[in-house]
Point group: C2
């Protein structure tokens, strides 16, 4: 099964296999649950190419189709895309995300594996934040050096 937004959208829905993101940056305008690919492009910032590619490689499970064969994304699909976007920001390889997607599709028996994967990702994220903070310190030192030096020779520069 897939992650859902059931708990935030329909509080009375079954929340057996649920853990989703309450706040949304691009709020989904309508109460509808069927979005065309171009709507999803607008919400997600991904291209239609990428969305279809995600589906081909198994990063998204099969998307509903209209009677003419066009994709109709659900809110659940958008939630999943949110998660994928977050994981992408961590630098997680797409192959690992596909692995996680497979675990989700395999059902409840993979809870422990999923958790381990997420915890390992969490450690990576903490490491990366630390590295970025180190980098920030270096940047600040250099910026203040150039700031001082720049001010010292401002006249020369602006002449």
């Amino acid at each position: 099964m897939m992650q859902t937004a059931a708990e935030t959208i329909a509080p009375n829905a079954t929340r057996t296999d649920t853990c989703s993101a309450p706040p949304r940056r691009h709020p989904r305008p309508e109460g509808q649950d069927h979005y065309t690919i171009s709507e999803v492009v607008a919400f997600s910032g991904l291209t239609a190419h990428t969305l279809r590619w995600y589906e081909r490689i198994g990063l998204m499970s099969h998307i509903d189709r209209s009677h003419t064969g066009q994709r109709r994304y659900s809110n659940r699909d958008l939630d999943w895309l949110d998660l994928v976007g977050k994981l992408r920001l961590t630098g997680m390889p797409v192959a690992d995300m596909v692995r996680y997607a497979e675990l989700v599709r395999e059902g409840e028996s993979t809870y422990l594996d999923r958790r381990e994967l997420l915890e390992s990702t969490r450690r990576d994220v903490l490491t990366r934040i630390g590295e970025l903070q180190d980098t920030l310190a270096v940047l600040d030192r250099k910026i203040s050096f150039y700031g001082d030096a720049g001010r010292a020779r401002e006249g020369e520069r602006t002449r």
Copy 2:
């Protein structure tokens, strides 16, 4: 001119065009200032291929050579590699780092451009840290979900 470690290595050196990193993770063992490429590989974690490639694309200025034509890296070169490593962690494209390297080579007249580049990088880093912290929050929520759910069905799983 290049960034130097003058202020930390020789406090009495000219510090006209200097702003470098005091602390080092892989302290350079000897007081020497001439390292072979394989030593630099050991210090930096980069491959020799990558080091030569960095030089080819202008990310490092010309490296000293021994009488037989082999590269001899200086402490200054290692400092520069440290910075490059940090900038790489921010996701800065190599082309932008090359641009910065060119500014450094062009001399003091580029102080302002360098500072602008660093400040823009700094903003990027802050953004990325924020994104990672958002992601961390999502991960924590999911982990605790799987933690609870996992504990609830531990017996089932371990049977």
